[in-house]
């Protein structure tokens, strides 16, 4: 896979910067968690080509249109921005990229302006420039340039959207990332399940397994080169790893009658998982390269759904040792196990935010809903209202969650996302039904 290079603006500026790149005191700001009612109006005109040229990904002129469309879509999907409609947009010439027509943009109501350009390089790569302006202050807020292989052109757009999002919200980026999930088709009693991977916006969708065996709960390795998942291969349900570059699967846990619920440690060295034996399920840890499992919990009952804190020092998991599913936290070596959920109903599938500040879970009170709480159990907040929402997974910036929504009867499950306000709920398009989504880290 061609490597994406990030370069600072100097490396790509085709025309002299007319404005200081130093960010003005930010008059344009977006609050991610405040539950904003009015998304920020933002203008994102099509990106002009430095010079019309043909590339392996189409003409630079067409690419400029598509790049802007991906940036608009990302920012709109965040729920925090309202890209101006195309009728409000004025064409931008190449020299105008670094010298915006603030007079025009000020009249559109846009508070921020994203301009960019695309250039075909002699070596077949593309350079995409991305500039963010404060329309009222008439200042440049930030700029970034990206060099990508033609097949990775969408990644340049996601990086541009990430630059804008981060600069205006103060939050970490998340658009240049992927989701691995289980594609589903067929009636519930004969459902065919396949591992599949896609960009976070649903593009570049690809099936990884052929559907001959049930596969469940894929999760990315931190370096994104592998996926750990559960498979019923040979009617021996256990844990496998899938190598994304070779396309090969390998059994990780042997000799267990039932091993499931795998999650990588943040440093990628270990996988924690659950193993059931004689009606009792406990959490174990195994080196990611294989080996003998080390037992972390010993309570009678079902201990499962373990997920590491981002620093690797703790594990959040669910246990029914109290009589119903509840959330517990323990040290990574299994010591100091203590319960953190005490609300009504059952709590399941806890996952620790990559920022460390929150734990997301499935709450069962008749209906299944997605919720969040602090790692000490306080501040519980329910984000979704549905019949069957399950299995949250965090976006790399810890501010958005992906989960799946079951439908009644034999209908397909769907992949959805929701932000921490609970307001911006959105279906992520998939070719077939989908479940068990896992949002991978930001791509390098």
């Amino acid at each position: 896979m061609p490597k994406l290079l990030t370069r600072i603006a100097m490396a790509l500026a085709p025309v002299a910067a007319l404005l200081s790149a130093a960010p003005a005191s930010a008059q344009v700001e977006v609050d991610v968690t405040g539950g904003i009612s009015a998304p920020m109006p933002i203008a994102i005109p099509d990106m002009p080509a430095a010079a019309p040229a043909q590339t392996a990904a189409g003409s630079t002129t067409e690419l400029g249109r598509q790049l802007a469309e991906v940036v608009r879509n990302d920012l709109k999907n965040s729920g925090l921005f309202r890209p101006l409609s195309s009728s409000m947009l004025q064409p931008v010439s190449f020299p105008q990229v670094t010298s915006p027509d603030f007079g025009y943009w000020g009249g559109t109501g846009a508070q921020a302006l994203v301009q960019g350009f695309v250039r075909a390089n002699g070596d077949g790569t593309l350079t995409v420039g991305c500039y963010l302006y404060d329309v009222f202050a008439r200042t440049e807020l930030t700029r970034q340039g990206f060099v990508v292989g033609p097949r990775d052109w969408r990644r340049a757009a996601h990086k541009c959207a990430d630059t804008v999002y981060s600069r205006l919200t103060g939050e970490g980026p998340y658009f240049d990332s992927r989701i691995v999930y289980v594609s589903e088709t067929g009636p519930k009693d004969h459902r065919i399940k396949r591992l599949a991977i896609m960009d976070q916006d649903g593009a570049n969708h690809r099936f990884l397994t052929n559907g001959q065996t049930i596969v469940l709960t894929p999760r990315f390795a931190p370096n994104q080169q592998k996926i750990v998942y559960m498979s019923y291969e040979n009617d021996r349900p256990t844990i496998y790893t899938y190598d994304l570059s070779s396309g090969r699967s390998q059994r990780l846990v042997s000799g267990a009658s039932l091993a499931f619920a795998p999650h990588f440690s943040p440093d990628g060295r270990y996988v924690i998982f659950s193993m059931a034996q004689g009606g009792n399920t406990d959490i174990y840890r195994i080196p990611a390269s294989g080996g003998s499992p080390q037992r972390l919990t010993t309570s009678p009952g079902i201990d499962t759904g373990g997920s590491y804190s981002p620093d690797g020092s703790q594990i959040v998991f669910e246990s029914d040792r109290s009589g119903s599913q509840q959330i517990y936290v323990m040290n990574a070596d299994g010591s100091n196990q203590h319960r953190i959920s005490f609300g009504n109903g059952r709590y399941a599938t806890p996952v620790w935010s990559p920022r460390g500040d929150l734990i997301a879970f499935t709450k069962i009170t008749g209906d299944f809903r997605i919720g969040i709480m602090s790692p000490s159990g306080g501040g519980e907040k329910i984000l979704t209202e549905s019949w069957g929402d399950e299995g949250p997974s965090w976006a790399p910036n810890g501010r958005v969650l992906v989960f799946f929504r079951n439908t009644r009867g034999s209908g397909p499950a769907e992949i959805w996302s929701v932000d921490l306000t609970g307001v911006n709920e959105r279906r992520i398009p998939t070719p077939l039904g989908g479940s068990d989504p896992n949002w991978g880290p930001l791509r390098p």
Binding site: L216, T217, A276, T304
Partner: protein, 173 residues
């Protein structure tokens, strides 16, 4: 595959017992490779179980009260009804000491996926332990949990969920 096979045999057996009125189809489905030829030979009815090979999966299904026991929500204890079903299974299994079985544990859709895998294992294990306590050698008994992955009732209502909370004893061919 095992399921399909047994369905074919049932069809053949039913056709055989339907009596003279029904004309048999000219071409019967071919006998599955792992099945003894007698199973599809209607002329040589074997005892009461017409055309069913003793000790076979089909014989098991016809001989026991049920191949399936059910459970309450989030429970895995063997109630009196389940006991009588498993007793009949244990009896049959003692008649055919070379037959191996897999006990499948299943759950309804009102539990999360990973928890249900563990709960299904509890149910399979509870049914298997009961059979073992009734004299079936542990070495003959395998368990597998399907969690909520293989429901038999597709509805999203209490009746369907009750049918799906089950442990199924499957005789291995």
């Amino acid at each position: 595959m095992a399921r399909l096979t047994s369905k074919l045999i049932v069809a053949a057996a039913l056709a055989a017992t339907a009596g003279c009125a029904k004309k048999r189809p000219e071409v019967l489905p071919p006998a599955p490779a792992e099945t003894a030829p007698t199973t599809t030979a209607p002329a040589d009815n074997y005892g009461q179980n017409t055309g069913v090979q003793p000790g076979s999966a089909e014989d098991f299904k016809q001989s026991v009260v049920s191949d399936t026991v059910h459970f309450d929500t989030d429970k895995y204890d063997i109630d009196p009804q389940a006991r009588s079903i498993l007793d009949s299974q244990a009896q049959w299994l003692q008649k055919y000491p070379n037959v191996r079985i897999t006990v499948e544990g299943h759950c309804d859709e009102r539990g999360t996926r990973e928890y249900n895998l563990a709960l299904g294992e509890r149910r399979a294990n509870a049914a298997a332990n009961y059979l073992i306590a009734r004299g079936v050698a542990a070495s003959r008994v395998n368990t597998i949990s399907y969690g909520k992955e293989r429901p038999i009732a597709l509805g999203s209502n209490p009746e369907a969920w009750a049918q799906n909370r089950r442990a199924v004893t499957v005789v291995l061919g």
